[in-house]
């Protein structure tokens, strides 16, 4: 008991049951309130003017005509936003990304913002703002940006991570290397070496709800922000520091979130909307259009990757090498020390037990929007390259691809490619489950093929602060500060109910605003249920301590003689035999006279959310005359540690797989020669529709995380990692072409088929 996070293998009463989510009724009746569903009295409409150029010097912004337009209440340009970042490069990048400072760095970069009495007036005002640009040469492709003749985007960018420090600036901002052993010696040992290069195009999280907020700043320096976000505490501290406000004086209330997948872990329009409100002295509501979401929020990196894998005839991989080139948009990584290629490099060969491995990540800037996290950020692209190459090696060895992976799978004691030595992990178990899955034995028809692939993600914990309050009727309020993106309020209520020994229905979970709890880290890194769940356990245990004390008062016996069992206080010892157990409700009812409200609280940093592995099986059918590909069957096998709410765990697995399928087949940012995004809408940025997908079968494995009382691991992200390669491998098995460019769209597949015919 107490605050020991160790796994205890306890028997559960309510954990693992498939209860209804507390936000369900609101969401099916249209009552749930999202970012755009809130209005403040007297609010203005905020709109943004965005650069039509991929790269341009801003010579002049003339706002005088717009200012004179009746109904315009405030106009903001970078001149209104002093740089308060104090040498913090990451913060300065955020500031500059929110509003261009002297240069527009990508198509869609905000250059000015307007607050007006209504949308029509605000639109008119945008047209009256005159921006004089000097168009500069641009580069949008990651490989092109690395060439010596490429236009250098930042004159002060000198590659970090290599010695000696370069003497000239370039678009390569970081090099990071991971691995161990001697790869050259490993390749020399190999009977067979396969080398292949890959490209993946840029994708977007594609949440259906655009970014939206209502900001209200008062002349006394206090302010409020209603916003759709994965992390309202983080939004609070970032916005406050950029605008020179006291953190505690800005209250951020999170709306229901209409999807984020990483894209709502970073600020975009929010600091500027606050600035507009401050200048206008009125509340301002800003909602991004879909076009703005695509052009000016945070998509993934597009990448270019080289893989080299050597193996012995017996199937042992002797060496593995990866070079990863990822573009991060026009800025360095989203947070300090976190360049995207570096993360990709860390995950590259994490599924395997390798004596000799090396991965080098090259992080590059281009004239595209600032890259943000997207579900297991950076991992799907490198997994596509590695897992495709693994299949090629298996094929050349004449080995079954599953057996080949099982032979080389990482296990407890394996040194991971990113450095540490693994504890108990689940990659081997997912592979065995795949091998034994009926899906693997289902018959395939002509032009159909089956592929499988593995995936890895870290998962994180982080700062957490949680309250549990017991009302006088015995109902329980669980107040958490981690945004519920996928049903965590239900999972957390289950956890509180389990600890207290009461029915799930007796607990109601809420997401608090930033004024009501201490800092909670953002819901990212699959941490929501893991970390707030841990804090809920400890808060409930603290409340149980109080309940026992109150029972002791009611009975007038020492607290040591009171135990908590199955939702009731029990007096232990023969001398208390006559005392009937007191239920939680009975103790709560008496609380006003036994010491006041009963509560539990926990603040902690539950780290180590347990690394997570998945293996996916996919069947596709390819039309060899058009290159059109359909996924006809799909199975996800993933280690969840312990599934608190199995249905919602399945939901995470299915959702991630579907996003991966879209990434694999059709989703991509398409930039024209002019450096402008050509498909900023859901018509031409093709996320899967219902008729594109089959049912997605799931198999949850439960290999307990030793560092969570219930064994929970993060589950939200890993499922997006394997699909790209699983589909690529399936296409290869269906029609014999090895696709090395994602998305594997019909024109690319048809071209590959023609080249195959030609040879």
């Amino acid at each position: 008991m107490g605050n020991d996070p160790s796994y205890t293998n306890q028997k559960f009463k309510v954990i693992g049951s498939r209860v209804q989510r507390p936000d369900g009724v609101d969401k099916v009746t249209g009552r749930a309130r999202y970012g755009a569903d809130y209005n403040a009295p007297g609010q203005l409409v905020g709109l943004f003017l965005r650069s039509p150029h991929a790269h341009a010097r801003i010579l002049k912004i003339s706002t005088s005509r717009a200012e004179k337009l009746s109904g315009v209440k405030a106009i903001i340009t970078s001149a209104d936003l002093p740089d308060l970042t104090n040498g913090d490069n990451a913060a300065r990048d955020i500031l500059e990304n929110c509003m261009a400072r002297g240069r527009a760095l990508y198509d869609g970069h905000a250059v000015a913002a307007v607050a007006a009495v209504d949308e029509q007036t605000a639109k008119k005002a945008l047209k009256l703002i005159k921006v004089t640009y000097e168009v500069l040469p641009h580069v949008t492709d990651v490989d092109e940006a690395m060439k010596p003749e490429a236009p250098v985007i930042h004159e002060d960018m000198y590659t970090a991570g290599i010695e000696p420090r370069p003497t000239k600036p370039s678009n390569l901002y970081n090099v990071a290397e991971f691995g161990h052993g001697d790869v050259e010696a490993g390749f020399a040992e190999a009977d067979l070496i396969v080398e292949k290069s890959y490209k993946t195009e840029q994708t977007h999280q594609g949440y259906i709800e655009p970014h939206a907020c209502v900001a209200s700043v008062n002349p006394d320096g206090t302010g409020e922000l209603w916003v759709t976000t994965q992390g309202h505490f983080t939004y609070r501290s970032v916005c406050a520091s950029l605008l020179g406000m006291d953190i505690a004086k800005l209250k951020v209330t999170s709306s229901e979130i209409g999807g984020g997948f990483g894209g709502k872990t970073h600020v975009w329009i929010e600091p500027i909307t606050l600035a507009l409100s401050r200048k206008a002295n009125r509340p301002v509501k800003a909602v991004m259009s879909r076009e703005e979401v695509f052009r000016a929020s945070g998509p993934t990196s597009s990448t270019s990757i080289d893989i080299k894998i050597g193996a012995k005839k017996d199937g042992t991989v002797t060496a593995a090498f990866a070079a990863l080139r990822y573009q991060g948009g026009a800025f360095r990584g989203a947070i300090p020390g976190m360049p995207w290629a570096m993360i990709g490099a860390m995950t590259s060969f994490a599924c395997y037990n390798l004596a000799n491995v090396k991965s080098v990540g090259y992080d590059v800037v281009v004239n595209r929007p600032k890259v943000a996290a997207y579900r297991a950020p950076s991992a799907p692209m490198i997994a596509f390259a590695v897992e495709s190459t693994m299949d090629m090696v298996a094929k050349e060895l004449g080995m079954d691809p599953v057996d080949f992976r099982i032979r080389n799978a990482a296990r407890e004691g394996t040194r991971a490619c990113y450095g540490p030595v693994y504890g108990p992990i689940g990659i081997g178990a997912t592979l065995e489950a795949v091998k034994n899955h009926p899906h693997m034995r289902a018959r395939l028809k002509k032009n159909q093929g089956r592929g499988m692939a593995c995936g890895f993600w870290f998962n994180f914990g982080g700062q957490t602060c949680t309250d549990l309050n017991i009302a006088t009727d015995g109902s329980v309020t669980l107040t958490v500060g981690t945004i519920d993106v996928g049903g965590s309020r239900a999972s957390l209520s289950l956890i509180a109910a389990e600890e207290l020994g009461i029915p799930y229905e007796q607990v109601k979970a809420h997401i608090a605003d930033t004024g009501s709890l201490g800092h909670n880290d953002t819901t990212e890194g699959s941490r929501g249920t893991f970390s707030s769940g841990m804090a809920a356990i400890f808060a409930a245990r603290q409340a149980i301590g109080v309940l026992r004390e109150r029972a002791a008062i009611m009975w007038n016996i020492p607290v040591e003689d009171v135990a908590w069992e199955a939702g009731s206080a029990k007096a232990i010892g023969s001398k208390h035999r006559k005392l009937k157990p007191l239920s939680l409700a009975e103790i709560a009812a008496a609380s006003p006279t036994t010491g006041g409200p009963i509560a539990g609280h926990n603040e902690s940093v539950p780290d180590n959310a347990g690394v997570s592995f998945a293996s996916h099986i996919c069947d596709v059918e390819v039309d060899p005359e058009t290159g059109g590909t359909r996924v006809i069957r799909y199975t996800v096998v993933q280690d969840a540690g312990k599934a608190i709410h199995p249905t919602y765990v399945e939901g995470q697995m299915q959702g991630g797989a579907a996003q991966g399928i879209g990434w694999a087949l059709n989703e991509e940012y398409i930039y024209g020669e002019d450096g402008r995004l050509q498909n900023p809408g859901f018509l031409d940025y093709r996320i899967p529709v219902c008729s594109d997908l089959p049912f997605i079968d799931t198999q949850i494995l439960e290999i307990p995380n030793p560092n969570h009382p219930y064994g929970v691991r993060g589950v939200g992200e890993t499922s997006i990692v394997p699909p790209l390669a699983a589909i690529g491998n399936a296409i290869s098995n269906a029609v014999g072409v090895r696709m090395n460019h994602v998305p594997m769209s019909p024109p690319r597949i048809l071209k590959a088929l023609e080249q195959l015919d030609a040879t």
Partner: protein, 168 residues
């Protein structure tokens, strides 16, 4: 830009509103009438989050002008539960976890309701195509299709109970 006065029926209630002629029905519902259940995901008819019915047909309210509602009948998600009782589709969406973030849910429910009114026993493929105008990014559609299948089954049973003679 003078506003036009429009008389219409929304969820069986007579409603009047005034709006400029270029304003979309979606904006009228959300910003003038407080019916926020229809969501704006794209404003170009590509996501279906703003789905409502207009004279019984499923439409994207972002692609209808408010003034077109004159004399028509509109149904929105707010009218789906009757007398405090959830529609079987609403029940099943919760039971089957057919929603995660829930932003697409009102649109899916409207589309699924129209589907089942026209076709009480749809195949999986018919369900998938009927819902293809509604984007969901959280679920991979798996549990949505299951929820619609379960609702169809339940509603057929209810229908039989209501009119037992139909069977013969």
């Amino acid at each position: 830009m003078s506003a036009v006065l429009v008389s219409t029926t929304i969820n069986d209630d007579a409603v009047q509103f005034a709006c400029p002629p270029e304003e979309s029905l979606l904006s009228v519902l959300r910003n003038r009438l407080g019916l926020i259940g229809a969501k704006e995901g794209c404003s170009t008819g590509d996501c279906g989050a703003c789905s409502v019915t207009l004279d019984g047909r499923l439409v994207c309210s972002c692609l209808v002008l408010g003034v077109e509602a004159q004399g028509r009948e509109i149904a929105t998600i707010e009218g789906m539960a009757v007398d405090g009782k959830l529609h079987p589709l609403q029940e099943n969406f919760i039971d089957h976890a057919a929603l995660q973030c829930g932003i697409c849910t009102p649109g899916f429910l409207m589309a699924a309701r129209v589907l089942l009114e026209r076709n009480p026993d749809p195949t999986e493929s018919e369900i998938r195509y009927a819902l293809a105008g509604n984007l969901c990014r959280c679920t991979g559609y798996d549990k949505i299709v299951h929820a619609v299948q379960a609702s169809a089954k339940e509603m057929r049973k209810l229908d039989k109970k209501k009119s037992p003679r139909k069977k013969a």
